[in-house]
Amino acid sequence: MAFYRGHILVCTGQECKQKGGKEVERILVKELKRFGLNDEIKVISTDCLGACEAGPLMVIYPEGVYYGGVQIEDVREIVEEHLLKGRRVNRLLYEMDESEENVTAHHKKDIFSDEMRIVLRNCGLIDPEDIKDYIGRDGYRALGIALTRLTPKEVITMIEDSGLRGRGGAGFPAGLKWKFTHQADGDEKYVVANADEGEPGTSKDRLIMEGDPHTLLESMAIAGYAVGADTGYIYVRGEYQLAVSRLKKAIEQAEELGVLGKNLFDSDFDFEIKIREGAGAYVCGEETALLRSIEGERGEPQIKPPYPPNEGLWGQPTLINNVETLANIPVIIQKGADWFSKIGIENCTGTKVFTLSGDVMNEGLVEVPMGTTLREIIEGFGGGMADGREFKVAQTGGTSGGCIPKELLDTPMDYDSLAEVGSALGSGALLIMDESHCIVDIAKCFMHFFEHESCGKCTPCREGNTRMYEMLDRISKGESNLKDLDKLRDLANVMSKTALCGLGQAAPTSIYSTLDYFKDEYLAHITAKVCITGDCQELVTQREEGERKGETA
């Protein structure tokens, strides 16, 4: 493949397109040709870079320089000055402002030197629609190594030794799951990539699929070889249309090049990959529900056991892994289990991609070694709290996770440490909130989500979430009494012990943790009828009315 000394990403997202982004791209290509730079600099049109106000926008790599408001007549100057002479065009420079940081514009390496990219190694650096770019960065090499030099058992041992744990939420050891699927008897076996990514506050899988779709394909093929499957399904969230189209294109190119299909790398191993789109149901991220959905049924979770490695898709042994889990595989195969197991901490190796959102200066995706503390992430990549406000609470692991207070900012971010403090690593969602937000209001928002997303199959979840929401609603309106706090806890206990699947079992996590760490705030709502932040509108209105009456009396 050709080697380019630089890449220019031109945003041709909706907003920039309207401001002339496409035209700018066309002229840019022309100008590069004129200066004979077309073999050195590659133009890549990308999706929204997240600073739509400043469009048309472009970024020049490897420098990572942003130019905004670029008009057709500016293009020549950029090419001549920046690319030819190496001088920045100051008048067009655009400083990415934190409020405009978009999830896809996360490549600012200098923001956070502790970042370590394994899963996101290619995102933002390659053209996701060109397989040659991927191959140029050692793409499909791991598949070649696995097929030509390793037996399936050796691949599985490598994954086991690496210590890789599932990134979909539960943290189950990946190698063990591969082994179970390998050992299971079946006429046919399947590999399924869980790309349903429904956990609120998470967008890592979307970025991997949009920015580096071949990584997922390669990983699935390796998994197929290891467990003995010749078909893979990617179950993608229905809302992720760009990811779907990139994956489709990637599959086409991979088949054309012969890295997917029949007799891969001259072995007798065949592997094909199909895409199934979800249709908007959070519960379908749960593995048994997801498989039901592929089977064309309502996505309702099933009682386990049997587990998918023994009885999965159409009753056959099925390996189901999260997209991020899979994205680690090619690197483990190439660099070895030993290398991987030294990253992170004991029992929790490798990196984790966090989706940082909320009241921090820089939102976006960051990949750091497991065990990095919450404080390090907020102050490092996050650039601290926005608007100089005080940190109040972080929700880790998405809506199914828990809330942790200021005192626990130094908690290492890994499965076990977070479970110890009553929260969860989950999908790696990290919602940071400052003192302006009310705990009761946030808890209500969480329960509203579960009330809506419960599939209704089991009673503890269907009824429990609704009742919990109602109780929180009463608390937020000052219509509650102290007994409700005990009832909340009782109901939480019942749900976490008796719900059929992880949805109902994990729903009360945020209730437990907010009751534990922010009880005073609940009490203020219940006894003093006060919401200090003013988020609980009804309490504020009541108070104002009370004061007005007091004045007139």
Partner: protein
């Protein structure tokens, strides 16, 4: 209508249990999944109507009722919530003059809520049909609606 459905189904002949994919494509073509449509899908796939309806009504992206030409979905998940999605919703309601679950009189817009769209870095966010918009302000909302 029948021909459209038939053609879509034929395209999935080699697929195992493609019901949901078929419903997606049928909806793309016909707008929504009416009773009549579901009956036809059931007939050609040789499935009980109860099953086809059960599936169509389970998933929020599959519509069994007629919607406006454009569907505006407001993200109500926590990251958008803390960035003021409720204000966005209030703004949209007054701009369009409808409540959640309703369609404007000219049949142009339907208003709905959705869970996280996976663009929390630019919260608050909405999705209009397939297109996602983030970092919303009142002014931006106005501009977005004008496009449709």
């Amino acid at each position: 209508m029948e021909a459209v459905i038939k053609e879509i189904i034929v395209g999935y002949e080699s697929e195992k249990t493609p019901l949901i994919s078929i419903l997606h494509r049928v909806q793309d073509k016909l707008g929504y999944l009416s009773e009549e449509v579901l009956k036809l899908v059931a007939k050609y796939l040789d499935l009980p109507l109860s099953k086809v309806y059960g599936v169509a009504s389970f998933y929020t992206l599959l519509d069994t009722e007629e919607k406006g030409e454009n569907i505006v979905r407001v993200c109500e998940s926590a990251p958008c919530h803390v960035k003021g999605s409720m204000n966005v919703l209030t703004e949209l309601k007054s701009e369009l003059g409808i409540d959640i679950g309703e369609t404007t009189k000219d049949n142009k817009f339907s208003l709905e809520l959705t869970s996280c769209l996976g663009v929390c870095g630019v919260a608050p966010a909405i999705m209009v049909n397939d297109q996602v918009y983030g970092n919303l302000t009142a002014k931006k909302l106005e501009e977005i609606l004008e496009k449709y």
